[in-house]
Structure formats: C-alpha cells, structure tokens
C-alpha cells in the first residue's frame, strides 16, 4: 500500500464528478422512461417458485399452460437449478382460498408432470401498497437519520457532502436495477438501507481524518488536507471494501437463488459507496471551502454548550 500514498486524488475530482453526473443523469433518465421492475411485494400478484419433476418441460410450455388460465400478465423464468422456475402472475386472487391449489392441479395435469410449488407468495393490492409506502419511508427515514447524525457530529459542509454521496449511491444502485430489469422486492430495500449505512460508514472514516488533520495542520488548504486524509485512510477503505465484498460474493455465488438480488444490490452499493466517499463526499468539502477556522470554531462552541 505504500506506493498508493502519493495519489493526487484532487486531480481526479473534476473528471470523477463529471462521471458521477453522467451516471446519475443516466440512472434518472432510465428510471423515468423505463421504470422499475417491481416484485409482488410492491405491485401485488402471485409469485411461485416451482420445481418440475420432469426435465423435459420448457419455460414456454409452462407459459403456454398458464396463459390458457386467464391470469393476466404471466412471466416464467429459470431460477437457480435446472427444472426450477420462478412464475410471476399478475392477479393475486387472495379471496379464492383454492386458487393456488387449483392452479397447481391444472398446471400439473396440463403439463403431464407433477409440479412442486416450493414457495408461494400471494400479495393483495392493499398490502403491496402499504409495503411500498413502508419501503420508501424506510429509505427516506434512514437518509434523514444519517443527515441528522452527521450534522450533530460534524459541520454542515460535511453533512452536505455525506448526504449527496448517499443520494448518489442510492440513485445509481436503483438505476442499475432499472437497466438490468432486476426485480425490486423487500430484500432489495433492505440492501439499499444497508448500502446507506455502509457508504456513510466509509465516508465518516475519511471525514473523521479530515477534521483531525484540519486541526493539526491549520495552515494547509483543504484541497491538500483532503489529499493527505484520503491517502492516509485509503488502505483501510480498500481492506474493508475487500473483506465486505468477499463476504458478499460468497453470498452471491453460494447463497442460493433467493439471495441473488440482495447480494447483487449490496455488491453494487459497496463499490459505488466506496467510490463516492472518495470522489463525491470529499470534493464537496473542497467546494464548500471547509477550513481549520470553521472546524475549530464549531468545536469551541460545542465545548461551551456543554
């Protein structure tokens, strides 16, 4: 890591900020025009993870068979192993207590093979609306809580930098989900909240060092302080990202099909979050001209208040 100490991060700020702006605009553009692939948790409907006994059945067989039953929009795709499928049906029919059973019977007899429904999720429109609301509320709430925390611990410039970095991370992660048409469900919301926590964690460590160095070297300008501090914490930033990514890739590869979306979102989030701590949050301190005086002054006020 010794060689890395000399990186002039400030030199890249302009280029990286431009890149971020492009990524965010692209994400927003796609979000607006393509939208998100909301899962049954948030849209309502029926989700079935099915395993067929015979391997001779194809996706289109299942699809054709389901389309005959007049169930609205139907999607079928492979899920994990061979002969495992994920079926998504637009209607939820929670009132018909025999809906799932009759669906299974019809499908089994139509395809001439026993179909095992390994997992069924059936969400009515009222509940999905509430879950969506709760999810959005949770994300908003966590952003607000982070803002509040950082505002108590640091000066306002730091809050601004941190919160812009967080919004940057969330928008880009969701944007990537929109581009790839990956499904957004409850676990993705959990991933986004964790990303918010992680990205904040990463940013705070650099900020902590910047504040410390501002107090130590009162004559050095903030741009140089950012450079020194980012370099000093770089090795930690990278090591923690690597161990976290090791854990996440292990979930992504070995954790089964259900955790794929969650771990993918987290992997994207950790990478984007690490990047944003260095190239989004820290530059904002430069632009808002944080200096030793303001930090020391605030410190003084804090002491007097106690």
């Amino acid at each position: 890591m010794e060689k890395l100490k000399k990186i002039q991060f400030t030199k890249f700020y302009k280029k990286m900020n431009f890149l971020s702006l492009v990524l965010i605009s692209l994400s927003l553009f796609i979000l607006i025009f393509k939208g998100l692939n909301l899962g049954v948790d948030f849209k309502g409907g029926t989700l079935i993870e099915a395993r067929t006994e015979s391997t001779a059945i194809s996706i289109s067989d299942i699809r054709q068979s389901l389309l005959k039953m007049d169930l609205g929009d139907v999607t079928v795709k492979k899920f994990g192993k061979e002969s495992d499928y994920l079926i998504k049906i637009e209607i939820n029919n929670t009132n018909d207590t025999n809906f799932i059973k009759s669906l299974n019977n019809k499908l089994s007899s139509d395809l001439g093979s026993i179909i095992n429904f390994r997992r069924v999720e059936n969400v009515g429109p009222k509940v999905s609306g509430e879950l969506l609301k709760a999810g959005l509320l949770a994300i908003t709430f966590s952003l607000a809580a982070m803002l509040f925390y950082i505002w108590i611990r640091f000066e306002w410039q730091f809050s601004l930098g941190a919160i812009i970095a967080l919004i940057h991370d969330v928008i880009i992660t969701i944007g990537i989900f929109s581009i790839l048409s990956f499904e957004i469900n409850l676990s993705i919301v959990a991933a986004i909240l964790t990303i918010v926590g992680y990205s904040m964690n990463d940013t705070v460590v650099i900020f902590d060092r910047i504040r410390e160095n501002l107090k130590k070297y009162t004559t050095i300008p903030i741009s140089e302080i950012s450079n020194i501090s980012t370099n000093e914490t770089l090795s930690r930033t990278l090591i923690t990202s690597i161990t976290t990514l090791l854990a996440l890739f292990s979930i992504f590869i070995f954790g089964g099909a259900i955790l794929k979306g969650f771990s993918f979102a987290m992997i994207v989030g950790v990478i984007v979050g690490t990047y944003s701590s260095i190239f989004v949050a820290t530059p904002i301190l430069n632009y808002t001209n944080v200096n030793s005086k303001s930090v020391l002054k605030e410190e003084q006020e804090d002491k007097e208040n106690f």
Partner: protein, 517 residues
C-alpha cells in the same frame, strides 16, 4: 488503553465463555437442560411453513350492530311514548323524525351515562354514539371511539374464533396475533399447503335451521343455492335455530348408509326450541344452511327432543370434520379476507439453510485468510476476534430466542465481512503511530485511542440503518435487521475488549523489539 483491571478481564472472558456456550448449545441436542436448551428459532423461510395475513371486514358489522341498536331504540321510543316517524338506517346512521315536545326527553336519555343503549366510555370520555337534530330530523351515528371499540371487539372475537379453528386442526405451534386494528397475522410452521386452513378461515360459518317453503309464493321466503351451486330451494326467512345454540359437533360415520355425517349437540335453550319446532313441523323439510348455502334439507320424520341431531350431506370424512370444526368454533362476527399469503416448502427451507451455511463458511474462510495475509500476526488477533464475534452473535440470538431467517443469515455473513473493519481501522492507526513513535506500547495505546472516534462513528451509521429496518421492515427482512444490529454490537465488543486485550499482550511481549505491520 492497554491496561485491563482483573475484574474487567473476568467480566469480558466470562461473557465470551457464557455466550459461546449458548451458541454451541444450538448444535447439540439437549432439550432436557432447561438453560442450555434454548435455540435460535428458524423463520418460516428456513423451516418451511405458511404465513397468512387476514383482514376483518368491519363494514357488515357496523350495519349489523346498527340494526340491533335500531330495534332497541324503537322499543325505547315506544315505551316512553315518544312519537317518531321514518325510523330507519341510512348511510351507517339511524335516522328518524321527532316531535318538538319530545326532544328534551330524548336528549336527557341519550346523554345519561348509565343508559343501556348508548354506552359511555370513561377511558375516552366519549359516548358510543352521537346525535344531531336539524329541523326535527334526528341522526344518530357512531362516534370515532364507538367505531374503535366496535372494531376492537370484532377483532378480538375473530381472533378467538380463528384460534379455535386452527387449534382444532392441530397444527404445530401456530402463531396467531393481532396486527394493527383490523388484521390477524398467522404463522403456521411446517405447514406447506395452507389451503385447508384457508378454507376454514374463509367461512364465516353462520349456521341456521330453517324450513323449506311449501311453494315460491309463500310470504317471507328466499331462493337459496345448495353447496354445489346448481340446485335451488325456496327457504323461509324465519330462523328456527341458529348455530349459537350449538355446543358440540363431531364427524361420524352413519351406520346405515355408511356415509360421513356430522353429529351435533345443542344447549338447553336450543334443545327446547328445536324440540318444539320439529314437533310442530313433522313431515316438512328442514333446511340446514351455512353461510347462505343449503347443506341439506331432510324431511322431519319425528320430533327431535333429545337436543342432539345429525347433519347429513354430500360429505367426505374430511369435509365432515371441517364442518364440525366450523360449527364447534362458532361463527365469525365478520368475514375475513386473506390479504397476504407466503408459503415455503420444507425442502426449499432445507436448501436455503444449506446454501446459507455454505456461503457463511466460505465467506468466513476468505475473510480470515485475507486478514492473515494482510496483517500476519495481528491478523491472527483479528481472526480470533472474528471467531469470538460470531460466537457472541449466535449466543445472543440464542438467548433472545430470536428468529433466524434467510436474510438473517445474509446479515451474519455481512457482519463477518464488515466486522474486521473495526480492527482494520485500529491496526492501520497503530501502523501510522509506529512510524513516529519509538515505543511499541505507546504506539498501540495511541492507535487504539485515536481510532476510537472513527470506529464508533462508522458503526453507529450502520446501526442506524439496522434499527430503521427493524421497525419498518417485515418478516424475513426483520431477521436481517436483527442479525446486522446485534452483529455491530458484538463487533464493537470483540474489537474493543477482546482484541484490545490480545493486542496489549502482544505489545508487552514485543515491547523492546521492532514491530512491522
């Protein structure tokens, strides 16, 4: 930072030992030991089972209760010789016309805290119902609190009956709890196909015995379907006997026809009513009606006086059993609708546990190797802290008897990846200090001190996310929040107490030698 008092050390290692014991006890079969028999609960997504969310539809209840209130009002108005006109229910309110002279009497009665029709709730300082009079038009409506109370009692009655029905079916340790003010949450571990339970809960189970009308022109009769939705009969609206009088019901096999039937027993009032009705109507057909569908309509051959009877129909033994369950548990006060259902088969749960365990093992192994590679000897300390952390985390989950879900396992793996961060922050700091500080002990001491604020800040942010997720998340996601949150606390503990102690020993040993990190 490197000094530990004896008491502190004792507490630290005692905690670690106890929690490790609890976490190891999870994997040993020891149900006899009442302390160590605690185990982490597996969520429905890991052990398989069904989750149902039911909503009580309180609309019909409001009208039903207004109907009863209306009868009481009519009786009261007649008793007091208050003249009224057009007494009826419109838009969930009781309305009638009153004479000027009677207004005072009416108001006095209505606002009397001890009156029997309009209850006064002390806790809310509010009446059950409120009235307004404009141009002699009286409008009586439920107050906000009246509705709250009505919904509350409907929900608690429904909860009771749902519990009875599920208990009758005999599933394994069901969870049945109230959710919000109009929902019931049911968790049925191990149950893969909830259709039977859904069928049982989907029926209100209003039972009535009514006579079959002789012909369609008979006054006060209605056309009802049989259960097969094809045949129809004209049935008198007058209820001879309702399910309220039924005290027991059992499925049985009829000796003569070898068909499944349901035997029922009536209470004393019911027996009397039923005896009288059957005596008077020998030779006529008696329809047995459940939720407005005719089950059967046998001819009354002789008076039934013993207070017990038999319902025959087109039953299988299963459907006869289900009908007895419904009859025994009583009618729901309001229809229930299923608004959310999630079921996981036990085989998928097993697969998930396997996948979770494998990815945890691999992730753990990779992180441990990486730390050894990065920090050599201090890596061992970090790795020991990581192992301790995992034991503490599982130990706490065990003591709390928390529910472990698949996302919860992901939370544990993620904790493994992120937990080393605290030690990385500290070691990196020590490394920096070693460059300027001659004394190894001082470098370690200052390193720990200086890293503290960053470690704390960094972990608080993740903890905030976990707490928000815990309160706003649902089901399996809550499990993730629990493991992530507890993981942060155990991480701080293992880094700042356990690893710091090991580091202090290491620093003492190396105090005169050069340490390279």
């Amino acid at each position: 930072m490197l000094y530990f008092s004896k008491i502190k050390l004792f507490v630290i290692y005692f905690l670690i030992a106890t929690l490790s014991l609890f976490s190891v006890a999870n994997f040993i079969d020891n149900d006899d030991n009442f302390i160590l028999s605690k185990k982490v609960n597996l969520g429905l997504d890991l052990q398989g089972g069904s989750y149902l969310l039911l909503e009580v539809d309180s609309k019909p209840i409001i009208n039903q209760n207004l109907q009863q209130k209306l009868l009481k009002f009519r009786k009261y108005l007649q008793e007091r010789n208050i003249e009224y006109q057009n007494l009826k229910i419109i838009n969930s309110s009781i309305r009638f016309l009153i004479k000027e002279k009677d207004i005072e009497t009416f108001e006095e009665f209505f606002l009397n805290k001890d009156n029997l029709i309009n209850t006064y709730y002390d806790q809310y300082r509010s009446y059950e119902m409120d009235y307004s009079i404009t141009n002699l038009n009286v409008i009586i409506e439920y107050t906000k609190f009246g509705l709250v109370e009505l919904k509350k009692s409907t929900l608690s009655q429904s909860l009771e009956i749902v519990r009875k029905r599920i208990d009758e079916v005999g599933t394994n340790e069901p969870t049945i709890i109230q959710r919000g003010n109009n929902r019931i949450l049911i968790e049925l571990p191990g149950l893969k196909d909830p259709s039977r339970i859904k069928n049982l809960l989907g029926k209100t189970a209003n039972l009535s015995f009514r006579l079959v009308s002789e012909n369609e022109t008979t006054f006060g009769s209605e056309l009802l379907y049989f259960e097969n939705n094809q045949d129809q009969l004209y049935i008198s609206k007058r209820i001879l006997l309702s399910g309220d009088n039924l005290i027991n019901a059992k499925p049985a096999l009829d000796n003569q026809t070898n068909q499944s039937v349901v035997n029922f027993t009536l209470d004393r009032v019911g027996s009397k009513k039923f005896g009288k009705a059957t005596t008077k109507n020998v030779g006529r057909r008696l329809a047995i009606i459940l939720d407005n569908k005719i089950i059967s309509a046998p001819v009354i051959r002789e008076p039934i006086l013993g207070g017990s009877g038999q319902i025959s129909g087109d039953f299988t033994f299963q459907s006869a059993t289900d009908l007895s369950v419904l009859l025994k548990s009583g009618a729901l006060p309001a229809p229930l609708t299923i608004v959310e259902e999630r079921s996981v088969g036990p085989d998928l749960g097993e697969d998930s546990i396997k996948a979770g365990a494998i990815s945890l093992a691999i992730g753990f192994f990779l992180v441990i190797l990486f730390m050894l590679y990065k920090y050599r000897f201090l890596g061992i300390i970090a790795d020991l802290a990581l192992i301790t952390n995992l034991l503490l985390l599982i130990g706490i989950l065990t003591i709390l008897e928390a529910t472990l879900t698949l996302p919860g396992i992901a939370g544990i793996i993620l904790t493994v990846g992120m937990a080393v961060d605290a030690n990385v922050l500290i070691f990196e700091r020590i490394k920096e200090e070693l460059k300027i500080e001659k004394s190894t002990i001082n470098a370690f001491d200052v390193g720990y001190k200086k890293a503290q604020s960053a470690v704390l800040d960094a972990n608080v942010t993740t903890l905030i996310s976990a707490v928000i997720l815990f309160f706003l998340g649902s089901g399996p996601v809550k499990g993730f929040a629990v493991t992530l949150g507890i993981g942060i606390i155990t991480t701080l503990f293992s880094a700042y107490f356990f690893a710091r102690h090991l580091s202090s020993i290491y620093a003492m040993i190396k105090k005169d030698k050069q340490v390279i990190l």
